[in-house]
């Protein structure tokens, strides 16, 4: 019996021990699995952490290099180099697009040969632009690429190509490209986030540089504008000062001109008033005639001043009528016939001299003035001729005398207000100094020109042109008929 039990009693604890050992071994294996799984997760977390740190480093590096300058070219090459150095792309580039046409404008690249890069940019419209509009991080890998992309990757000798659009307020301003000969099949979410951040960092730097440049340009333009405005202001100021000066001069001249006849009038009136009885009849007549002349002169002066003021304020109206200039001249001659005395007044109008459209009263005023002036300077027995010819689209009329003439230096001045030639005739019989300026203004209102030609001791000739002005009458007729119709 003992023999039977012996082996049993001996083998049982052995088997039990082995089983326990195996059980412990399996438990150890399970513990190892738990250990490995925990360790694996820890490793993964650590790896992600390390990856993010190195991405942050890359962002920091590219940021500090491109934000230290506003030079667009330096920024572009900085980004392209960072793509290679920090992100391991064998070939990389950055393209900045033209704002309106969205065509590549400026660019920098690393690793590509110039031929490869040209080939890459040639595919812009067909491949790149649609891709850029599609995704924020666009990846093409040779094994999975559509035919056109496959061809491009092949000719660039790369297997994967990454496109990162750069946007400012959703507008595409450019893109970054990175390519490798090794295959990148897909990107993790964290990689995508990183690349998007990278591109946005680049776009901000580029936009800042562009804004800075634009600001500089705006500053320059502003400065130019300020300078221009200042110049205009100075000129306007100068003009105002001149106008002010002219006004002061005018007022002082006018007061002077008004005072002269008034003084004379006052003098004669005082004399007549105090010495009424003592003054002989013939002298009294002379006094009264002077008084009459001076009041006439005053009236003329005031009328002329009113004319000038009307002309200058644009209130002078022209009443357009068909006018025969020879007839007007004849009327002027008749009026001045007595005054002319021995001076001959001659009308010399060509046969084909046409009728023109003008304001007859104004025209008479002009001729009266010119012939009147001529009379004042004409020696006895000389003649004054009014000559009329057809000229271009109108007529040309000259008033020619045989008087002392006008010095060359003074030819233009005679048309200035209150300018009077300093000569004996004027001292004896002063005019108002407004006649010729009024004449010029009236002729100008008719669309003509007036000037004077003269040489000392050769007489002088005032010449003016007048257009036919037929349309003025038609316009008037049209208006009248329209009014009648309505």
């Amino acid at each position: 019996m003992r023999r039977i039990y012996k082996p049993k009693s001996k083998s049982r604890p052995k088997k039990k021990g082995l089983n326990e050992l195996l059980k412990a071994y399996d438990e150890l294996d399970r513990t190892a699995k738990t250990l490995i799984r925990t360790d694996y997760l820890l490793h993964r977390a650590n790896e992600r952490f390390d990856q993010q740190i190195s991405q942050l480093h890359a962002l920091h590096r590219v940021g500090s290099s491109i934000n230290s300058t506003f030079d667009l070219e330096l920024i572009l090459s900085g980004i392209s180099e960072s793509m290679t150095k920090d992100l391991d792309f064998e070939k990389s580039g950055i393209v900045f697009l033209e704002k309106n046409s969205q065509r590549p404008l400026q660019s920098a690249y690393t690793g590509f040969s110039s031929a490869e890069y040209r080939l890459f940019l040639d595919s812009f419209a067909e491949l790149l632009l649609p891709a850029l509009q599609q995704e924020d991080v666009y990846l093409q890998t040779a094994a999975y690429a559509p035919v056109a992309w496959g061809k491009l990757l092949n000719s660039l000798s790369v297997s994967s190509l990454l496109l990162l659009p750069m946007r400012i307020k959703s507008r595409l301003i450019g893109f970054i490209v990175g390519a490798r000969s090794h295959v990148t099949v897909r990107l993790t979410d964290s990689e995508r986030r990183f690349y998007a951040m990278y591109a946005s960092q680049a776009s901000t730097a580029i936009e800042n540089a562009r804004l800075y440049e634009a600001l500089g340009q705006a500053n320059l333009t502003l400065e130019e504008k300020v300078q221009e405005r200042t110049k205009n202001l100075v000129a306007a100021n100068e003009q105002l000062r001149e106008l002010d000066q002219a006004k002061s001069n005018f007022i002082s001249l006018v007061s002077h001109e008004l005072r002269t006849p008034l003084t004379a009038i006052k003098g004669f009136i005082v004399t007549l008033f105090h010495y009424d009885k003592e003054i002989p009849e013939d002298k009294r007549r002379v006094y009264l005639s002077v008084l009459n002349e001076e009041t006439d002169r005053l009236t003329r002066l005031i009328n002329e001043l009113l004319d000038i003021s009307r002309i200058e304020s644009g209130r002078m109206e022209i009443l357009w009528r068909p006018v025969s200039v020879p007839e007007v001249a004849q009327r002027v001659f008749s009026t001045l016939a007595v005054k002319a005395n021995t001076v001959k007044l001659v009308n010399e109008f060509s046969d084909n001299f046409p009728q023109i459209v003008a304001d007859p009263d104004k025209l008479e005023q002009v001729l009266m003035n010119l012939v009147g002036n001529a009379l004042r300077y004409s020696p006895p027995e000389s003649s004054i001729r009014v000559i009329g010819h057809v000229h271009e689209n109108g007529v040309i009329i000259g008033v020619k005398d045989e008087g002392p003439g006008i010095a060359f230096a003074e030819l233009e001045k005679v048309f200035d207000k209150f300018y009077r030639l300093d000569n004996e005739a004027n001292r004896k019989n002063p005019g108002t100094g407004l006649g010729l300026p009024i004449c010029r203004a009236l002729i100008n209102l008719h669309g003509g020109k007036i000037w004077v030609e003269s040489e000392v001791n050769q007489g002088c000739q005032f010449i003016f042109t007048l257009p036919l002005n037929a349309d003025k009458l038609e316009a008037k007729v049209d208006e009248a008929s329209r009014q009648a119709a309505s």
């Binding site: 294996d29 190892a32 699995k33 490995i36 390390d50 290679t84 150095k85 391991d88 690393t110």
Partner: protein, 397 residues
């Protein structure tokens, strides 16, 4: 001093300018002289003939070998997205370089041919072989097997597999002016050059072992008669589709498979870089059928301790020669595991080598090559192995 070393680095945007800048630093370290050998390790962005042209415009006709990496290593610490240039001058030594192309269909033969060409060209005694195979197209173990077959076990072999910045798509090898892929480059250090090599990782096993029930070369089909990938499904709680979607490397780099080695304190590690058909695991190095594998886990402290130990081993194996510089071939997995603290590893290596007076150059790779020692005393023998997740320190004197 028979050996001199100069190291330069650049991360300029333009690849030509970067090559030039790094080479200029090398020349200035070498007091204006051109080096006898140029090693170049760079990020894939710089794997461009223009970069090599720029380097060679300064280093002249000196032979150049190197590969693309997942980060460079220089004296001051690790450097990502850069090109690292190392220049060596050996007064009483010589360098023989070689390359084998299209190695993926016959990796062992390619290793044999490379070793053969190099040893036949060597006019002095071979002291150490540095190799830089493609890290994705072949199993580093296969290439190494071929090399050892021709070169024997007396010449220590060290190096690292080319990487591609953790894309796991395509790596490049540099040979003089050429940018190659699916190739292996190597340089035999001969004559009065001494190399002490250390290799460590610091990873520890977790969970119970799994038997490799079916494997061929670097492909593991089954573990415990289940599809190999199920080990990751079980441990990480991830579905197979999830594992296939991401480059598997980014998961298995953190938790490699470990094989116990007799007489060694550390496990031999294997990274699976892809999930193959029917849930197989495609590794960068060979896994033997019938062996037991365990899932491995790394820790910050043990990783740094291992780095320090690797450097100490290297100095010790230099056998009392004065150290003038060191090459470091470090697994990208360590960079990943240490995360933002990965600078610390180069710091402890530098301290263990004797401070900043010792120039350090190297790169982060997809697999490491270094010998391990078996036995004690006189019977102590070294045999080269292909490692993963490890840090190889080659102390030069």
């Amino acid at each position: 001093m028979t050996l001199e070393i100069g190291i330069g680095v650049s991360s300029q945007a333009d690849v030509f300018a970067a090559g030039q800048e790094a080479a200029e630093q090398v020349i200035s370290h070498l007091a204006g002289r051109q080096p006898d050998l140029v090693l170049v390790f760079s990020s894939i962005r710089f794997a461009d003939p223009r970069m090599l042209k720029a380097v060679r415009s300064l280093t002249g006709s000196a032979p150049l070998v190197g590969c693309s990496d997942a980060g460079g290593i220089i004296t001051s610490g690790p450097k990502r997205r850069s090109v690292t240039v190392i220049g060596l001058i050996a007064k009483n030594g010589s360098f023989v370089t070689g390359v084998e192309r299209h190695i993926s269909h016959q990796p062992r033969q390619a290793g044999e041919r490379l070793a053969d060409t190099l040893s036949r060209q060597a006019s002095q005694a071979a002291r150490c072989l540095l190799v830089f195979p493609d890290g994705l197209t072949v199993s580093g173990s296969d290439v190494l097997e071929g090399i050892v077959k021709k070169l024997g076990r007396d010449v220590p072999v060290a190096g690292g597999s080319a990487a591609d910045d953790l894309y796991f798509q395509k790596t490049f090898q540099f040979y003089n002016d050429e940018i190659l892929t699916d190739s292996v480059t190597g340089v035999l250090l001969c004559g009065d050059i001494h190399a002490g090599i250390g290799v460590r990782h610091g990873w520890v096993p977790v969970g119970r072992p799994r038997r490799v029930t079916r494997a061929l070369g670097h492909i593991v089909y089954e573990l415990d008669r289940r599809p190999a990938v199920s080990i990751y499904e079980d441990f990480l709680g991830l579905k197979r589709e999830e594992l296939m979607q991401e480059p598997l490397g980014s998961v298995t780099l953190t938790y490699p498979l470990g094989m116990e080695m007799k007489g060694q304190s550390e496990y031999l590690l294997r990274d699976a870089i892809r999930v193959g058909r029917a849930g197989s695991l495609i590794c960068t190095g060979g896994v033997e059928e019938g062996s037991e594998v365990r899932l491995m886990i790394g820790g910050y402290e043990s990783a740094l301790e291992a780095a320090q130990q690797s450097a100490c081993d290297a100095v010790e194996r230099l056998g009392g020669k004065r150290i003038v510089g060191a090459l470091v071939f470090c697994s990208v997995a360590r960079q990943k595991m240490l995360g933002s603290e990965f600078q610390g590893e180069v710091d402890v290596i530098r301290d263990a080598l004797g401070g900043s007076g010792v120039r350090i150059g190297g790169f982060y790779c997809y697999g490491e090559v270094a010998p391990v020692w078996k036995g004690t005393g006189r019977s102590r023998k070294s045999f080269p192995l292909f490692h993963n997740e490890s840090v190889v320190v080659v102390a030069l004197g």
